[in-house]
């Protein structure tokens, strides 16, 4: 492969490339998960890796999520740098004991002696008519647990750099891929690079209102910002990229300039990360705010299977536009 400026990769190809480069360089990087080996994964995230690195390093597992995470943990403590895949984020629920009570806490419980360089990868998000048990956004659940890092890229460039950082990180990290972004294409450098975990990125600068959004919502927020710009409303769109640890500094710095903020997420609004972010903005920039911080999220209901219902359920570009307009116009009432 030669360096070709302008080379484009999809979001999922950027993921695969990050894994491949780390595997090529470090024999301790091993992968395990359902259907990831021979088939390359139901989202093709691991495509070609078994052919390149062999069945001992890219393992098709039985359908046992709890054991998949536990296995990765055991191998990690023993000097490996495993990547384990949970096909759908919803099924992390099957493995929550290993994730919450084990992976997140082993270093602490071993008095610091154990290191868990484990990466858990998974497909999250709605919009595929995949129904209530294949569509959830459960990032708040994970971010609530001290010990875990949670990463949620919104584009191919960040995907490659963040995935590489997850693999090299000495803590258990969860890499969430949004299922609706898998085919999104963008220029991605061929060489290795590491995007630091815990650093937000200002994707679009603006002075009127700060919009915080991640995963697919970042892209919807950018589209909404284009619409609003036509009416002279300039949004500053911030993609936190890593949800735990969360870079509140970048957000607060922005809000102190714009004096208004909207947090957008695909997850259910109640108990979602929007509440935490809004609260931290309020704690750190109260005197700068011209309106209450708004939160846009899904209603308090499971994700519907019906495409019509699902389209109404997921926060849309139009609703982001509406929310920003009302924050610009007047203080909001909570929901």
């Amino acid at each position: 492969m030669t360096d070709s400026p302008g080379r484009k990769l999809s979001y999922v190809q950027a993921f695969t490339e990050a894994v491949r480069l780390e595997m090529a360089d470090d024999p301790t990087v091993i992968c395990a998960g359902e259907d990831i080996g021979f088939f390359g994964g139901v989202f093709q995230s691991y495509a070609g890796l078994q052919t390149e690195f062999g069945v001992d390093r890219v393992v098709d597992t039985p359908i046992s999520e709890q054991a998949i995470v536990g296995l990765g943990l055991g191998a990690a403590v023993n000097g490996m740098r495993p990547i384990v895949d949970i096909m759908f984020m919803d099924f992390m629920a099957v493995a929550l004991d290993q994730i919450i009570n084990q992976a997140a806490k082993i270093k602490y419980m071993f008095g610091g002696a154990a290191t868990v360089p484990l990466t858990i990868t998974t497909g999250g998000g709605a919009g595929m008519s995949a129904a209530a048990q294949h569509s959830q956004s459960l990032e708040a659940l994970l971010c609530h647990i001290p010990g875990l890092k949670v990463v949620y890229p919104s584009n191919p460039l960040d995907m490659k750099g963040l995935m590489a950082s997850c693999i090299r990180d000495d803590n258990p990290t969860v890499m969430v891929k949004h299922k609706r972004l898998l085919g999104m294409k963008a220029e991605v450098p061929e060489e290795r690079y590491y995007t630091p975990l815990g650093e937000a990125r200002v994707i679009r600068p603006g002075n009127d209102v700060t919009v915080v959004a991640w995963g697919k919502m970042t892209n919807d927020a950018l589209a909404a910002a284009d619409t609003l710009a036509r009416d002279g409303i300039e949004c500053e769109v911030i993609d936190p990229r890593t949800l735990q640890p969360f870079d509140i500094g970048t957000v607060v710095e922005s809000v102190r300039r714009t004096n208004r903020a909207v947090v957008v997420h695909e997850a259910v609004r109640f108990g979602g990360l929007g509440g935490e972010i809004a609260s931290q903005i309020q704690e750190n920039a109260f005197d700068y705010l011209d309106a209450p911080v708004a939160r846009l999220g899904a209603p308090f209901s499971p994700v519907p299977f019906s495409p019509d219902l699902e389209a109404a359920y997921i926060p849309s570009q139009e609703r982001i536009v509406e929310e920003v307009r009302s924050v610009m116009a007047r203080p909001l009432l909570g929901g």
Binding site: F39, V42, I63, V94, F305, Y313
Partner: protein, 335 residues
């Protein structure tokens, strides 16, 4: 003792197998036409489901399917198919199979239905009902902790439950050899302390026989049975799958030669109970039933307002408020 099958039983069984395949293929095509969501074809498992259903008492026993079986449970009433069609069209009402039909809706979160079945059977024992619960699960689903824990429970509780492991050779792209090192799935019953047996799942009469015996054990208080029914998946995993990428062609061709429908058709023709005309009629009838179910479901599509109806038993203040907000936004009936 196994109830002998009358000629009418035998003809009904053939009719149901044909109906199952016709409905399943129409469901597949509906997804292709954008009229239904992801669904999983039954091709190859008809004899297992129809044979098992014939051995049960629809007025006393419960069936807990995985996701392929609903099209083959005609014996439990037309409501099963009608609900299934609504379900794949995305209507939340599709998950509600009206009383007194004793069939649970499809289960997508693998193996979670297994402890539910044991719980139902345990409940029946407590209330002194004479029936049993029969649960279907795939070869791949046996790798989940839910299966082992529930089967162990069933043994301890001597619950009137029948586990039918549909071994169709595959779990998406993962072959059985990657799922277990045991010589067969029936052998696992030894660890739970109850009998297990392997049956040819393309032979409907053999399936009927073993399920009848298992039912006898269950209702007489002798406890659970594990049945492994061996067949081959003759269709893609789901509408979202492309098996040509992993399924060896020769295996599939050989399995097509052991098609359970052809096998039973030959058997009944030999006994003078079935003709080619009967096949044509059964196919046409099944098609008409399916067409009516589709029409009914399409004429009564889900209303987005229904999103809030079944989150809790009674809508909470929050749900009530959200529902009102949605009505303000979308109208009472935006369909």
């Amino acid at each position: 003792m196994t109830r002998p099958l009358s000629d009418d039983d035998l003809r009904a069984m053939m009719t149901h197998m044909i109906g199952a395949r016709v409905s399943s293929q129409r469901a597949f095509n509906l997804q292709r036409q954008g009229r239904a969501g992801t669904n999983a074809p039954i091709d190859g498992s008809e004899a297992i489901v129809v044979g098992a259903a014939r051995a049960l008492d629809p007025t006393a026993d419960w069936v807990l399917p995985q996701y392929r079986e609903p099209v083959a449970l005609q014996r439990f009433g037309p409501e099963v198919l009608e609900s299934y069609v609504r379900y794949i069209l995305g209507d939340p009402d599709g998950g509600h199979i009206p009383e007194p039909v004793r069939v649970w809706p499809p289960q997508i979160s693998l193996a979670t239905q297994v402890p539910h079945a044991v719980g139902m059977a345990w409940g029946m024992k407590r209330t002194g009902e004479t029936g049993c619960a029969l649960v279907f699960l795939g070869d791949g689903s046996t790798s989940e902790g839910d299966f082992y824990e529930a089967a162990n429970f069933a043994g301890v509780l001597r619950a009137p439950v029948i586990f039918v492991v549909v071994n169709n050779g595959w779990a998406i792209s993962t072959p059985v050899a990657s799922q277990t090192a045991a010589k067969n799935f029936a052998a696992k019953s030894h660890a739970f302390g109850f009998p297990g047996t392997t049956v040819d799942g393309t032979d409907i009469l053999a399936v009927y026989e073993v399920v009848s015996e298992a039912r006898e054990r269950a209702v007489s208080g002798a406890g659970p049975t594990l049945i492994e029914a061996v067949t081959y998946r003759l269709a893609p995993h789901t509408t979202a799958d492309d098996p040509t990428r992993y399924m060896p062609d020769d295996e599939l061709v050989a399995a097509r030669g052991r098609d359970p429908l052809t096998r039973f058709q030959k058997e009944l023709s030999g006994r003078g109970l079935w003709s080619d005309d009967d096949t044509t009629r059964a196919e046409a009838d099944a098609d008409a039933v399916m067409e009516a179910a589709i029409q009914a479901a399409e004429a009564d599509r889900a209303n987005p307002i229904e999103l809030f109806d079944h989150v809790h038993a009674i809508r909470t203040t929050r749900l009530e408020r959200q529902r009102r907000e949605w009505i303000d936004h979308y109208g009472e009936d935006p369909r």
